[in-house]
């Protein structure tokens, strides 16, 4: 099993991509290590696919450098770069059968027929498509097309495999299965994967690191657990998983302890680097949110239980604050429920919350240095 090495395989240095006044990617700095599974995550239009296409060579950078294995590939055509792409819609050649599709890259490189046959055969068994050589793409299901597309890219033994929402067109069950298979494939081959998706759950499942993008800006980069537990910006907190985000102002600062004042209450949280009267966001995951009939020390926040929603193994409870904001709380099914209409005290677990600056756009370059933020009651 291959490990992520310290060697930088792909580097984006101060990369900008503008289409006229439309700034698609803004001053992007990113290092992708050898053998790493890096996911670029973000909503549509955030610049993640454009970034991938700049690595592949389909788009030129407006300014900045794309460096692959220490070499600036800025003026190299896609066919001169040692990276291969798996396209969102597979882009299989419709007039060629499975064998010829996979062999395409090798025939372009004038590899000997005998070797092509052997390597295509290896790829077919790697993606579990033995015996499908003579099929035309139109005779394959979505999942099979995807496997052929992956084999067609991998047969060239690229240094980096770029995947542009490769599972987007598959149904949920198949997608889950392919996620696991892709992850295994990546571990087995030790190839650097750069994977673009808008599905946050998918990114959490598969990645070594996630790069969260929004509006052309890299909001945060880090391992899945760090992205989930310590979001650096309001956007990341909101986009990855579910979050309750409360606006607050810092009432008083006492060392590492803050008294934050909401529109309808207050709470004691511990976080450093904030000053008095500063506006902040308090982000609380639904599974960390609690409620109780009695007041909890450190919290002064009340709400009315609005409704319970059953979602399989968990129950979502909606609690409405006096100002009309809904808070989501998730409980394991079977937990005793408080009847809708009851007024309760709201609090959260010590490690369940993150305090964020509201002026987050100035923050994105400092993300890696953001100190560990903890909130205690």
């Amino acid at each position: 099993m291959a490990q992520v090495s310290d060697k930088v395989m792909v580097e984006l240095r101060n990369v900008d991509k503008f289409y006229g006044a439309n700034k698609v990617v803004k001053n992007l700095n990113l290092q992708i290590r050898e053998g790493e599974f890096l996911t670029m995550l973000g909503p549509s239009g955030c610049g993640k696919t454009t970034t991938l296409r700049m690595i592949a060579g389909f788009e030129a950078v407006t300014s900045g450098a794309v460096i692959i294995e220490g070499e600036n590939v800025g003026n190299k055509a896609p066919y001169q770069r040692n990276v291969n792409t798996v396209f969102q819609n597979y882009a299989l050649f419709p007039h060629m059968n499975v064998y010829d599709n996979i062999a395409f890259g090798l025939t372009e490189k004038k590899v000997k027929k005998e070797e092509i046959r052997q390597r295509v055969g290896e790829m077919l068994s790697l993606v579990q498509m033995d015996g499908y050589e003579k099929r035309m793409p139109s005779q394959l299901s979505g999942g099979q097309k995807q496997r052929v597309a992956i084999a067609r890219a991998l047969v060239n033994r690229p240094k980096v495999l770029l995947l542009d929402e490769p599972l987007g067109a598959l149904d949920l069950k198949l997608r889950k299965q392919m996620q696991v298979e892709l992850k295994h494939l990546q571990r087995q081959l030790g190839i650097t994967f750069v994977y673009v998706t808008h599905d946050q759950e998918e990114s959490l499942t598969m990645s070594d690191r996630i790069a969260v993008m929004n509006n052309g800006i890299l909001e945060q980069i880090g391992p899945p657990d760090k992205i989930y537990n310590q979001p650096a910006t309001k956007f990341v907190a909101d986009f990855i998983g579910e979050s309750n985000i409360l606006e607050a102002s810092v009432g008083s600062v006492d060392g590492d302890s803050l008294n934050v004042i909401f529109e309808t209450g207050s709470a004691e949280v511990s976080a450093a680097g904030f000053s008095q009267d500063e506006m902040v966001y308090i982000s609380v995951r639904p599974e960390k949110l609690k409620c109780s009939a009695a007041a909890v020390p450190g919290f002064n926040l009340r709400g009315t239980v609005k409704e319970h929603i059953y979602v399989g193994s968990i129950i979502k409870t909606i609690i409405e604050l006096p100002n009309g904001q809904d808070l989501k709380m998730s409980l394991l099914a079977g937990t005793p429920l408080i009847a809708p209409g009851e007024v309760v005290w709201v609090y959260w677990e010590k490690d369940g919350t993150v305090v964020l600056h509201t002026h987050e756009e100035t923050l994105y370059n400092l993300i890696e240095q953001v100190p560990k933020i903890e909130v205690s009651v």
Partner: protein, 267 residues
């Protein structure tokens, strides 16, 4: 609705369809029928003969017209397919200033009345002092055939996911290889359809040809047109029968090709 009513509806629609097909094909059937008539008149059938086919072959004027037609048609197809395909690919792929204007002007020859085109081409050749002949005829035919090639090829391209071109380049193919190995095979049905249209348009054009042909480059339609004025002779019937046969053959070839490509999942 009761069953007798239903049957009546069925019968009526069958009669209706039959009448339409008679309307479409009876005139052609009559021509074919009279090409085997031993009488010189297209009115009464006197007996079966193949003599008009022999006479047709010995008619040197007719044969040279046939030769001219073939030369013009083949040249028109080759030239208009080449220019039209490149134009369609270029128009699809590149964005440039004034593209919509250039684009609309491509299709004007399709809607412009043939008589206008014929006269303007004649005037054009006259101004440039080009003497009329096979070359002027070919240029004229390319002018009105090429837009049809652009239309068919373009509809083929735009109905297709051209990210396969990027995939090819990603896999190491140069632009030229991508064109030869990926783009052209995929748009081939569009090119073929365009070629067929160009062929038929060139084969039976009378009006534009009438203005742009010289005395030594008379084509078949013009020859027939001139003959009709003095009465249709049975050898023309024979010729038309041969042309119908060739057309049918082309149609069969095309349908077979279509069936083959759709089986391969290309359509």
């Amino acid at each position: 609705m009761n069953s007798s009513n239903k049957q009546l509806t069925k019968l009526l629609s069958a009669v209706f369809v039959t009448l339409i097909y008679i309307f479409l094909y009876l005139p052609i059937a009559i021509i074919v029928f009279f090409s085997f008539n031993s009488s010189k008149l297209n009115i009464v059938f006197q007996g079966f003969t193949l003599q008009w086919y022999g006479i047709m072959l010995q008619n040197t004027d007719l044969m040279s017209a046939l030769e001219n037609t073939a030369i013009v048609a083949v040249s028109t197809v080759v030239i208009s397919v080449f220019i039209g395909t490149l134009a369609a690919i270029g128009m699809f792929r590149y964005e440039f200033r004034g593209k919509s204007i250039v684009d609309s002007f491509l299709y004007i020859p399709i809607v412009i009345p043939e008589i206008v085109m014929g006269i303007s081409l004649l005037a054009f050749y006259h101004i440039l002092n080009i003497s009329l002949g096979i070359t002027t005829l070919i240029i004229a035919h390319v002018t009105f055939s090429m837009p049809y090639v652009v239309v068919t090829v373009r509809s083929r391209i735009s109905g297709f996911d051209m990210s396969v071109e990027e995939a090819a380049m990603d896999l190491g193919a140069t632009r030229l290889h991508t064109l030869l190995r990926i783009t052209l095979p995929i748009i081939a049905p569009g090119i073929l359809a365009g070629a067929m249209l160009a062929l038929t348009l060139s084969l039976d054009d009378v009006i534009v040809s009438f203005f742009t042909t010289g005395v030594d480059s008379v084509t078949l339609p013009i020859y027939i047109f001139n003959k009709v004025k003095t009465g249709v002779s049975p050898d023309i019937n024979a010729l038309i029968t041969v042309i119908i046969l060739i057309t049918l053959l082309i149609l069969v070839v095309m349908r077979t090709f279509e069936a083959k490509t759709s089986k391969k999942g290309l359509v």
